[in-house]
Assembly symmetry: D2
Homo-oligomer: 230 residues x 4
Amino acid sequence: MTNTTPSLFDRLKAAVADDWTAYTGHAFVRQLGLGTLPEAAFRHYLGQDYLFLIHFARAYALAAYKTTDLAEMQRAVASVDGILNTEIALHIDYCQGWGLDEAALAALPEAEATMAYTRFVLECGLAGDSLDLYVALSPCVVGYGEIGAALAAEPAAVSATVGKGNPYASWIEMYAGPDYQQVAQAAVAQLDHLAALRLTPARFDALCQTFRRATQLEADFWHMGLTLAP
Amino acid sequence: MTNTTPSLFDRLKAAVADDWTAYTGHAFVRQLGLGTLPEAAFRHYLGQDYLFLIHFARAYALAAYKTTDLAEMQRAVASVDGILNTEIALHIDYCQGWGLDEAALAALPEAEATMAYTRFVLECGLAGDSLDLYVALSPCVVGYGEIGAALAAEPAAVSATVGKGNPYASWIEMYAGPDYQQVAQAAVAQLDHLAALRLTPARFDALCQTFRRATQLEADFWHMGLTLAP
Amino acid sequence: MTNTTPSLFDRLKAAVADDWTAYTGHAFVRQLGLGTLPEAAFRHYLGQDYLFLIHFARAYALAAYKTTDLAEMQRAVASVDGILNTEIALHIDYCQGWGLDEAALAALPEAEATMAYTRFVLECGLAGDSLDLYVALSPCVVGYGEIGAALAAEPAAVSATVGKGNPYASWIEMYAGPDYQQVAQAAVAQLDHLAALRLTPARFDALCQTFRRATQLEADFWHMGLTLAP
Amino acid sequence: MTNTTPSLFDRLKAAVADDWTAYTGHAFVRQLGLGTLPEAAFRHYLGQDYLFLIHFARAYALAAYKTTDLAEMQRAVASVDGILNTEIALHIDYCQGWGLDEAALAALPEAEATMAYTRFVLECGLAGDSLDLYVALSPCVVGYGEIGAALAAEPAAVSATVGKGNPYASWIEMYAGPDYQQVAQAAVAQLDHLAALRLTPARFDALCQTFRRATQLEADFWHMGLTLAP
């Protein structure tokens, strides 16, 4: 056995285990895996996720500003570019399949849960340093990978319903797929890279608070979808 | 006839009249005026208001950073100083009367409504300019003056209950009193000062959106108090 | 003839005409056009320009953060991406032809002129809004186009020396070429786009001061190259 | 006696010893101690120091924004307040004795050395965290205390010339005096407070670079005074 040092991500997740479970095992997620999620809930979620992505692109742009390390800047800009020019385009395509065209997306009012989550992340990055910012980003980036992989691995849930035609199968496949899994792993590695530079024992509690809050805001985001909250 | 030009604040308030009424006429406010607000609700509100004030002080510090005009900087710093060294101290005294000591205040977890409101304001100021920031601050600063004055002027509500001993009379008197009314008027004047420098017709809609969101977040803050929401 | 409204860029340039001439007609530029610039001066300039580009990429990343308009964000990110993944790569190739490899570039100490210019631009963008930031960026982006075009149009200078083999001909051609001219024109259009949204008469003087300082810092940058200043 | 752990400030100073000596032993400083500094140089320095203080107040306001620790916020705001409402007032009084009234000060163009130094410090604080910001501020705050104390302790220089009436004696006394020495010591303690929270071995080199640059920019500031540079 080798590398026994847990990643910073794993340490943070372990420190907020209850909140992590409430996020990754949220009713929205379970119903999505079973294919029983109401379509209106998924559509509400999709629209807000579009608005969310715009602010997430801003967060990576902020991360690019906050470094002078060329390789780190290139990774951050690749994330912005990936969101703005690939992910948002895919999202727009995907939403059209659910009856939401680009004009409809652009005209959506921002839900409170979307606003609360995105501004929290951005403000973390401005008040703090790159490590604070990437910790705030990580429950989303890495959590979606974990959720996708978990749903894809549940034969009783997904494969059965896929047989019946789980309408959310392509969503699950995307996040379970190797491309997204690599994005999630790169985010874990980026956190460890920054931790090697900037993590002190004295900062761990504050980073846990940031991570916990971002995790709770992810759960709120599912809740917003499920309840069609404005 | 005299000054017929409405202030920017009045224009913004008129543009979001429904949300403004929902904020200033919230059940929390009405019950506070009638003296019927549950003490637990008031205590929950007070504790979160303490945390809120810390972030509001940060917002004025940010405003001080964002200008090189000495008089504007001095006004912003007077606000920070007023919050940190007077208002928070008064707040701590006041809270002790309600059974919350300073250690209890400092240990309070931040409610979601507190977090959402304060990070929204701060991020407005970082992404935009001073005008964006002061617009986001104004529903709180000016609205409390309006609420205090309105409650103090309702004989059927306040004076009767004060006769019976409205437990919130001193809160109402503080915001209705001449010192706070002057703070609120200065905030209106500060907005007009910035508008003269930086307001274009093309920005009005975006400023309305900022003002509307901040007003909604104020209403959410009352709701959090009333429902004891975490 | 129609469109008689001058661009904001032209108004700013006219307002600081002396400084603009001192920048675009600097001895470094004239000697570069004549092919008489000492190679050591050019090499010193090239190395510092590499460091400069990294901070300019940060400035466009900051601009991307500071907007929620998707099209504006995409333009800003295209600039970051262009600098980080095309311009810097070209720069590294170009520098190798002048005996500076990538490791040498990365190890260069930042000259004072480089530091002063880049931090001024970034801080403008953080204290102010997008208009302040793009005004601070414009003397570089648009000025290089103007300098390239002017040098390419001087037969007595360039073509003669190119005949003799002006060693800086490819530099001139790059900035005089259609690709870069389009970048410069897009920057002028972007300023007018922002001016339509955010320019008031009251802001013009402050924007002129920003533009003048950035123009002077460009002249200082040439001076640094010419004098090999650290 | 024990405490053998050097302060972070002492470690940084030791790491850039040559630059530190060039700053604290600059010709401007030596001539000031001997009373031989041309009055025009001192007057130029004084005027720029006024502009410098405004930006330093902004830097402490930024530091107040960047924390949620109430005590740290209060210390930062006390610094802003001290600069804006005491130091600048004293400065204005002092300048009047040298023939510079407040209107003259406010109308001064900002010298390049003033601009370069202040924007560097502010941008450090925005790109990085509080530790980056306070390290960038420390050569000024602590260095002036060291310079004042050193000049006051040179009998051959100061006391003799004070006997003859060193025109700069009151400047020296101010920085050598117990009030300012306490300010300098508090700045050293604040750095150690932040270092305990956020310093890793991996950050030391980058902090040294920040400290070195700020120290060089202080020397440039003296040079600007001595040469009357615009």
